[in-house]
């Protein structure tokens, strides 16, 4: 202990070490953020203009007997809200149910976020109630893009989320 550096910098270094050991950066966080940032940087170089939906609520449902990871995400931008619920299906794939309010006719694209930008994507459309669903998606990081069918109103994108 005699070697402990008690200068201001030395003390701050001790504080850093303590926190790095007791609350380490989660495994894979850097890689997930790199994937998200690369995808967004590619997008920023294109003409696609969209409003970023902000995550306003995340709620996990109590794990069922199978230890499922069902959870709900609520995103918003101004007066538009998008609610998503993800769940695993019996075959090990994931399903994604969503609602947009106020209900609007939209094309909805779920795109995989991978290390080298956007991966595969799946498309569907909202029904009259603003509801949409994707059955049997692979698990992983995804972003959703919602584009109005009439082309008049704004397109929306969500941040990446794990399903």
């Amino acid at each position: 202990m005699s070697a402990t550096d008690l200068s201001r910098e030395g003390l701050l270094k001790i504080v850093r070490q303590v926190w790095e050991e007791r609350d380490p950066v989660p495994e894979g966080l850097v890689e997930r953020m790199q994937a998200v940032v690369q995808t967004e940087a590619i997008l920023a170089d294109t003409d696609l203009d969209y409003e970023l939906l902000v995550l306003v609520e995340r709620s996990a449902e109590l794990a069922g007997a199978r230890g499922t990871a069902a959870y709900t995400l609520r995103f918003a931008h101004d007066t538009t809200e998008v609610l998503l619920r993800t769940d695993r299906d019996d075959s090990g794939g994931a399903r994604l149910d969503g609602w947009i309010a106020p209900a609007a006719a939209m094309r909805v694209r779920a795109s995989q976020v991978t290390d080298h930008g956007e991966g595969h994507s799946w498309e569907t459309e909202t029904d009259a109630n603003g509801r949409f669903e994707f059955a049997d998606l692979p698990t992983g990081l995804f972003r959703l893009w919602l584009t109005p069918l009439d082309g008049d109103t704004t397109a929306f994108g969500t941040p990446a989320f794990e399903i």
Binding site: M1, T4, L6, V15, Q17, R22, D23, R32, A44
Partner: protein, 201 residues
């Protein structure tokens, strides 16, 4: 470029972030450019955001929105030297916003956040080191909560924006500097006392 972790002298983190940001502005999205910026700064953002006692998933969400904001508002960061501060300030604001809305729903005490234990390291050779580590943990824990949070912020940030820090710790801006000095002094005394106790054991 040599790769840095945030335990290194914090100065290197900021200069590496600046170098990566500059390289990205010149089109480099690789390990010395955009990827490098995310690698260097994500651990810093983690500690900044977690000092708001956010659960892991909420903390990750805040970090992601900080990165998305940086890409979307890249042109607003005029000076590459400022990128580190821009990121931590943006993350701090968002963390504070999220923590106030979470705390309305359910008050979270420090103790209720389940800190993950560090990875088990192999046994006897580590005994001395781990004894030392336990003492450091105890010492930092013995500080008042406000000191612990403020020092965590100061330790991971380069010249933090005191207005935002003050707001989130519910302290007047003018008292942050003096409080930081007092907290460092407390830590110094506690370390010295602990060292004496360690020798007496």
């Amino acid at each position: 470029m040599p790769h840095t972790t945030s335990t290194d002298s914090s100065g290197r983190v900021w200069s590496e972030a600046t170098a990566c940001f500059t390289a990205w502005a010149n089109g480099d999205t690789g390990p010395d450019g955009l990827d490098g910026l995310v690698r260097v700064m994500t651990p810093v953002l983690w500690h900044v955001v977690r000092s708001y006692r956010l659960p892991q998933e909420a903390a990750e969400d805040v970090i992601q929105s900080t990165w998305l904001a940086m890409v979307r508002r890249r042109d607003s960061i005029e000076d590459a030297v400022a990128v580190g501060g821009w990121l931590t300030t943006t993350a701090r604001r968002e963390a504070w916003r999220v923590s106030t809305s979470l705390n309305k729903a359910m008050p979270v005490e420090d103790e209720e956040i389940a800190f993950r234990l560090p990875k088990q390291r192999s046994a006897e050779t580590e005994a001395v080191e781990s004894d030392e580590r336990d003492r450091l943990w105890e010492t930092v824990d013995s500080l008042p909560e406000r000191c612990r949070r403020l020092l965590r912020i100061v330790a991971f940030e380069n010249r933090p924006d005191y207005t935002v820090v003050a707001q989130s710790l519910d302290m007047p801006v003018g008292s942050i500097g003096p409080t930081r000095g007092r907290c460092l002094a407390k830590l110094r005394v506690a370390l010295l006392q602990n060292a004496q106790m360690g020798e007496a054991r």
